[in-house]
Subunit: 195 residues, 2 copies
Amino acid sequence: MNLPPLCEAFVLHFGEMGSRWGINRTVGQIYAVLFVAEKPLCADEIVEALGISRSNVSMGLKELQNWNLLKPRHVQGDRREFFGTPDDIYAIVRTLVDERKKREIDPTLTMLRELLMQSPGSDAERYAQARLKDMHELIDLMTGWYADVQKLETERLIQLLSMGSKVVKVLEMKDRLFALPGGKGRRATSSQAGG
Amino acid sequence: MNLPPLCEAFVLHFGEMGSRWGINRTVGQIYAVLFVAEKPLCADEIVEALGISRSNVSMGLKELQNWNLLKPRHVQGDRREFFGTPDDIYAIVRTLVDERKKREIDPTLTMLRELLMQSPGSDAERYAQARLKDMHELIDLMTGWYADVQKLETERLIQLLSMGSKVVKVLEMKDRLFALPGGKGRRATSSQAGG
DNA sequence: CTCTATTTTCAGGATTGTCTGAAAATTGGA
DNA sequence: TCCAATTTTCAGACAATCCTGAAAATAGAG
């Protein structure tokens, strides 16, 4: 590996983390190199930086492009293609979550819905369906929250996250102020919520 | 595999998903079986259900115990150990997130902090540190939010998630009502937030 | 259109991770 | 204490994944 020590340490750790999250170690390293690079890099520069084969870099870049995680760049008078990462790290995380949701969560929700529509043939299946229903509701709730929050501008998102659970205090205050009927004991059902 | 069709479908999908998240497919299947089982199961019942070797089940259960995801149960007059999953699916998710945070996020934060303390030896390293600082702040923000929200009772958590970004509207209202100095343009810094 | 720089594909070797049966260790009861 | 049921360990077989070099494909310049 041919990188400044600081970058090398980061790249190695990031590759390791990637491999724990179902992402090929090399792909993680390629992204790490691009992430800390001052300017877009071409494939051969990545080969040079990581000391891996050219074909491996090609496959890694292709994978990262499938994930929409790269910004392709062209340099005047140069035939090679250069790649960088979005400057805004929030944009990177949004893309990452979107893609994982699309590939893993959505199919899981579909599967759960299909299984919940079947009529149980035994007590065992009836009980399993009850469990699956809990799981479906939980995932539904979380993806609904994400879909909603994802629309916020970064500034607002940061504000919301900084608040943490203090938000609940504000909600209580709101409820007191407006004395909504059915106040704090409200049940949360799918996409319903008082605004 | 020796399970009702509905359970089998779930177990297969869950195992597949697990393997995409850095969890051994078999371990995922074992958890899935326990999750939809009406009562705790012993190792041999899992062998029977999944059609895998006894030793494989033993290793899988050990792994799941390391993740604190199992509830060991003892049956009177039976020497075998039985395992179930927590009834509350929220408890399961909390544990899962806690463990992943402990194993992956916390070490990453440590690494980032260490690299940020080094004095850069070149422009490349200086730029890399700026990127790493962004990443550190983002992870810090998200883990801070999680640590905070994780303390809520499930009921409250559901309420918060159901609200989604509508919370921001309430915040705006609050800001207007009390006309805080510096109102909506506030910067979010680490753990600081107005309540 | 041709030429050449560059990228992509892919078969097979290298590596890593998973699974198993046999043997060892453990545990509770007698 | 010993015994038998049960669990755990682990070397090696097996499988999946990754990585590479060589060859094919692509794309821009002339």
